[in-house]
């Protein structure tokens, strides 16, 4: 692969460019995170396969701790989860640390194994097709 030479562009210092990039990234993140919430599970197409024991555990944990604020993964008191591109590690981080309005959930409430299952379940919710619209 040919790499472009490391040129210094006029007008912006390296630090300024980093700031601009960070700002753009944050802006995009904000747009995604705060976008209107998608509806929960579709009814006429496939839903999460809870014959998979891990997903079944994830569903149980979700209903115990998450559904109240994110019903079925859609928005409610909290943001929607089913249309956000967060990777699994970021979901774990948020669950354990509860940044912002969301409370934190420790390992007494959600064990490490349950958290693994929960992350898989939340990702599966995201991969469902969007809800039905009017015919």
């Amino acid at each position: 692969m040919v790499r472009a030479p490391n040129v210094v562009r006029p007008g912006l210092t390296s630090r300024a460019r980093t700031a601009v990039r960070t700002g753009v990234a944050l802006g995009l993140t904000l747009l995604v995170a705060c976008a209107p919430p998608r509806r929960a599970e579709p009814l006429t197409r496939a839903t999460v396969d809870t014959t998979d024991p891990v997903l079944a555990t994830g569903e149980t944990v979700f209903n115990r701790w998450c559904h109240e604020c994110h019903p079925g993964g859609e928005g409610g008191l909290g943001t929607s989860l089913n249309d956000k591109p967060w990777p699994g590690w970021m979901i774990r981080f948020q669950v354990r640390n509860g940044i912002g309005a969301m409370p934190r959930f420790d390992s007494q409430q959600i064990s490490p194994e349950e958290l693994d299952a929960l992350v898989r379940y939340v990702l599966a919710l995201r991969w469902l097709e969007p809800a039905e619209t009017r015919p």
């Binding site: 995170a33 569903e59 019903p71 928005g75 956000k84 970021m90």
Partner: protein, 517 residues
């Protein structure tokens, strides 16, 4: 990892040479990841503060309401039909021995809209027959048993009652003077396998303390001495709340109010409030011929829906706390309980089995944690069977009786939908649908919801589907679920705005014969 692992700390006998740092500097990539996580977390978390509330009632509506069953999505194998339209504030449905449907029209709605409460029979030819009318609304629900209708009369003006109404319209009062003059009223009823009439009695307040929100509801000015009544003696923690006094002529006046006492009355630590029956925030029962009211369970907030499962156990939907008033409580979903007879179920100090002193969960952003108002608690409250959406207003429900409809033994729960911004802030409409609850696992799934990319009432998402489902009842033959839709209610910072003549009854049934999920 525990403390028993090998230590890497230098001992006092170590070389006087400055020890080498034990951990290498974290790689740049790891630092970047952590920074990104913190930033994204802050942004995600910050959404709550950045965004305006987006409740399903925060919309505009121009009559008439359009109704089209094709705009309601249900799982494969089910279909939706429209049974009746043009009802005003319908709240309940019951069937007689001939399978004819009776619907209560409340005669009152939040927003202080008044009308005549009544029961109408939906005739097979599409006509309607008025069976009985009342004058002490709202009529919050109806059940049929032994040739008569039993009505839960909310009674915001004269106190709640349970009425027995013959199909000829003859009325007999079974219970009167129930404590329904506040926020929540007399609900249900449901007929037990013992033939007794079970009903829910809502609490007077959001979380035990009469406040400015009580004035906004409209009742504090009518009944300034009204407050919650415990079912058994309770000992108070002496926690009091200072608020502006909306009853005073002086706009700068302040009032100090404690729990279980009238507005403007403070309490002391150790003060005992005597219990009595009937009380507020409880499940009560009365014999079908009338008589003394008995306590079934207490410590509930607004037990709106009652139904007996096929195994004979009583289940109740409890509308949980709002973020309003002197003692706002944040983030508490509505609960579906299998009632434990005699038990205190936690209101006003717990949400299910969790204490409200868990400030990380229950303190509204920027507000003081609610804390305990009781010095002692009668028992550790039982856990709920299922947890439903915060502010979903999960109301009436019924259990699928068998394979003809499918999902036998599971609960089909109507969700009236949020009343934001009055009850607190939401980032998207909550409720406005029918959900299916597996009472064995607590799993909650959508069952009937508007066809749209977003969730919400038809007046919010567009189309001609569901508005505010409030009650559900299976037909006597077990083949169809009837869903009562209260109709359009928009909400703004001033008050709710219910719209007359917009109530609907929907019918959901299987498209094919035999074999259910």
């Amino acid at each position: 990892m525990g403390d028993s692992g090998p230590t890497r700390r230098p001992t006092p006998m170590a070389s006087p040479v400055q020890p080498t740092p034990l951990r290498a500097a974290p790689p740049r990539a790891a630092l970047a990841l952590v920074t990104l996580a913190l930033l994204v977390g802050a942004v995600v978390g910050g959404c709550y503060g950045l965004r305006q509330t987006m409740g399903g009632g925060q919309t505009t509506f121009t009559p008439p309401r359009q109704v089209d069953a094709a705009d309601v999505a249900v799982p494969p194998g089910y279909r939706v039909e429209v049974v009746a339209t043009g009802l005003t504030f319908p709240t309940g449905i019951a069937f007689d021995d001939r399978g004819r449907a009776y619907v209560t029209e409340a005669g009152y709605s939040y927003g202080e809209e008044w009308d005549v409460p009544r029961v109408v029979r939906l005739e097979p030819d599409g006509g309607r027959t008025v069976i009985v009318e009342g004058d002490n609304p709202p009529w919050n629900g109806v059940a049929y048993h032994g040739g008569a209708l039993y009505i839960a009369e909310g009674g915001v003006l004269e106190g709640g009652r349970i009425l027995r109404v013959g199909l000829d319209g003859q009325v007999r009062e079974l219970v009167r003077d129930l404590p329904s003059l506040g926020d929540h009223h007399t609900n249900g009823p449901a007929i037990g396998t013992d033939g007794w009439i079970y009903f829910g009695q809502g609490s007077v307040t959001n979380s035990g303390v009469v406040g400015e929100d009580s004035h906004a509801f409209g009742w504090l000015e009518r009944f300034p001495q009204v407050h919650d009544i415990p079912c058994q003696d309770v000992t108070l923690a002496g926690r009091n709340y200072t608020t502006p006094d909306p009853l005073a002529d002086d706009t700068g006046a302040r009032a100090v109010t404690g729990a279980f006492v009238p507005f403007g009355s403070s309490t002391e630590p150790g003060q005992v409030v005597p219990g009595q029956v009937p009380c507020s925030g409880a499940i009560l029962r009365v014999p079908p011929e009338g008589g003394a009211t008995e306590l079934v369970a207490w410590g509930l907030r607004n037990p709106f829906g009652l139904a007996f499962a096929p195994d004979g156990r009583l289940y109740v939907t409890d509308n949980s706390y709002d973020e309003r008033g002197s003692r706002p409580v944040w983030g508490t979903g509505d609960l579906l309980y299998a009632i434990e007879p005699g038990a205190w179920h936690g209101w006003p100090d717990y949400h299910g089995e969790r204490p409200l002193t868990d400030a990380d969960h229950f303190a509204a952003p920027g507000r003081e944690p609610p804390g305990f108002v009781l010095a002692e608690h009668p028992n550790q409250p039982p856990a709920a069977i299922a947890r439903l959406g915060v502010h979903s207003a999960s109301t009436g429900f019924d259990f699928s009786p068998g394979p003809d409809f499918g999902h036998e033994g599971q609960a089909f729960v109507t969700q009236f939908g949020d009343m934001a911004p009055g009850v607190g802030k939401v980032l998207g409409p909550v409720g406005f649908k029918v959900v299916r609850v597996d009472v064995e696992t607590g799993a909650v799934h959508d069952f009937a919801v508007n066809r749209a990319e977003l969730n919400g009432p038809a007046s919010w998402v567009g189309g001609a589907g569901l508005e505010r489902p409030v009650a559900a009842r299976f037909s006597p033959d077990g083949t169809a679920l009837y869903v009562v839709d209260f109709g359009v209610m928009t909400v703004d910072l001033e008050r709710p705005w219910p719209v007359r003549d917009t109530g609907v009854v929907w019918r959901i049934s299987r498209t094919g014969a035999g074999g259910g999920p």
